[in-house]
Structure formats: C-alpha cells, structure tokens
Subunit: 135 residues, 2 copies
Amino acid sequence: MAGLSIGALARRTGVHIETIRYFEKVGLLEAPGRTEGGHRVYTEQHVRALSFIKRARELGFTPADVRAILNLGGPGRAYCDEVQEIAVHHLKQVRSKMLDLERLERLLASTVERCSGGHVPDCPVIEMLEQPSRK
Amino acid sequence: MAGLSIGALARRTGVHIETIRYFEKVGLLEAPGRTEGGHRVYTEQHVRALSFIKRARELGFTPADVRAILNLGGPGRAYCDEVQEIAVHHLKQVRSKMLDLERLERLLASTVERCSGGHVPDCPVIEMLEQPSRK
DNA sequence: ATGGCACCTGTAGCAACTACAGGATCAAGA
DNA sequence: TCTTGATCCTGTAGTTGCTACAGGTGCCAT
C-alpha cells in the first residue's frame, strides 16, 4: 500500500497529470506528501477525492459546485441537505438548458426541412439567422 | 445616412465595443473604413453582418460555424445546401447534448428525491458522485 | 480653443485547463 | 555502484471567446 506517483494517479483516474497539479493549485485537490526529492506521493484518499471531482465535472457540476461540496468537508463528511441544495440548483440549470435546447431544436429542424438547395435569398437558414432574436 | 461610429454600432446591435473589435481582429467582421483620425466608420452592411453573427452565436453556432457561413460569401450570397449542411451538423450536436442532459436530469432528479437531510454516508447525491462514470 | 466624451492600440485578465521548456529525481538493469 | 531512460519538478505560455484596463488621441459642441 505504498503511495502513488502522480503518473500512477493519472492512470488510475484518467485525469491528466497537468490537470491534477492544476486541481491542487486551485485548491480542489489536497496537496499530497512529497518524497525527499520533491515528487508528489498520493494515497487512496486522493484517488477517491479525484475520482469524485472528475465524476462531478462530467455531470456538469461547475468547479465552484465541486468546491462547495468539498468545502462541506469533502465526500464522507458533508451534510446531505447542503449537498442536496447544490444538486437541486444544478438540476434546475440542467432543466432550463434542456428547454433552451428544445426550442432551438424545433427551430433548426423546421428550418432545415424547408431548405431547397438553391441560392439565397431562398435559404430559410439564413433567413432565420437574420431575424433579430426575440429572447 | 452617414456612417456609424463603433459606439453607435454597439448600441444598435447590443454587442460590446471590445467584442466588435475582437470580431474584426479574428476575421468575423469585415474591417470598416476609417476617418482621417483613425476612427472606425461602419455602414448598414456592418449592422446586418454583426446582427447575423450575434444571432448565430446566440443559437449556439460556434465561431467556426459562423465563419464557415460567412466565408460562403456572407448572408445574401451563400448557397443554401452548404448552409444547410452546417445547420444540420449543428442540429445533430444539439440533439446529442439534449440526450446527455436528459439522462443527467433523470439521474439527478431521482437521486435528489431520495435525500433525507441527514448525515453522510446517507447522502444519495454523494453516493452517486462516487460511482465511477459508466460513460 | 478647450473641455470632455468617445475612440484608438496594445496588453492583460478570465475560466479551466493543456502543453511545453529546461532541469532534477527515481528505479532498475549492468 | 553507476548509468540510463522514464518520470517528475516548476514555471511559463498557449487555448477560446471574449472583457477590461492603461495611456494616449480624435471629435465636436460650446
């Protein structure tokens, strides 16, 4: 159960070496111990934490979200209701983004359908893009 | 019908002055004429083009997409089939992003629902985040 | 002609990484 | 033990799509 080098950690978690060092620099990942020569030595805790960070980022949590959860004491010590709050907030954002995309999808699909392959000004896509947005 | 200053163009289109200059620098917006003193002077063409760029960006077209359409001769000269191709490509990306979000939404919603408000390790959100991704 | 706003260029900053460059350390074989 | 080659170190610069200065001019109305 010796420590892991940064390369080993990278292989275990699928996170780039540079990104690991970056996470440490910005305070997302706890700084590990060092060898005499200054090489980082990671523990299984780091594997857990880094995997957690990675997963949360993949699910679209912002680095700020991740930090918020981690600051609650990290996985293993956080209060469920606080974590839930963050997740609910994220869920709201996801739903609103979905609505945006749905509207866009309909617009794009119906527009593309009307394309003739001819010249402008017969192109519905261009026409659509020239409408001022009614956001 | 005198030309517009960059500030007037910004007000007309709702695009920041710095962003207009940026678009010029990266070749999205045609460089306008200048006064003796070096101030940019824009035409109605520029208003049209900039509005087009803005709208396309709002709809999620990447700058590369916009450039591609613009390079086809700009709105008013492009071939419909080529524009359509770009739009269809964009539509595909939108749909795939929607699917991702839908999956995520279900996961988040069902997880959050099971939250008790108690301490970890009873927090389903944390548990979910600790699962390795099966992407 | 002069005040004050708008404009100019150029550079630096943001997020969230990624990618070097140049040098030190580690581990393993000879 | 020595050497070699992979790995690691720090620090800086690049990426994308802007945004925000700093410091210097131009424009125009009074």
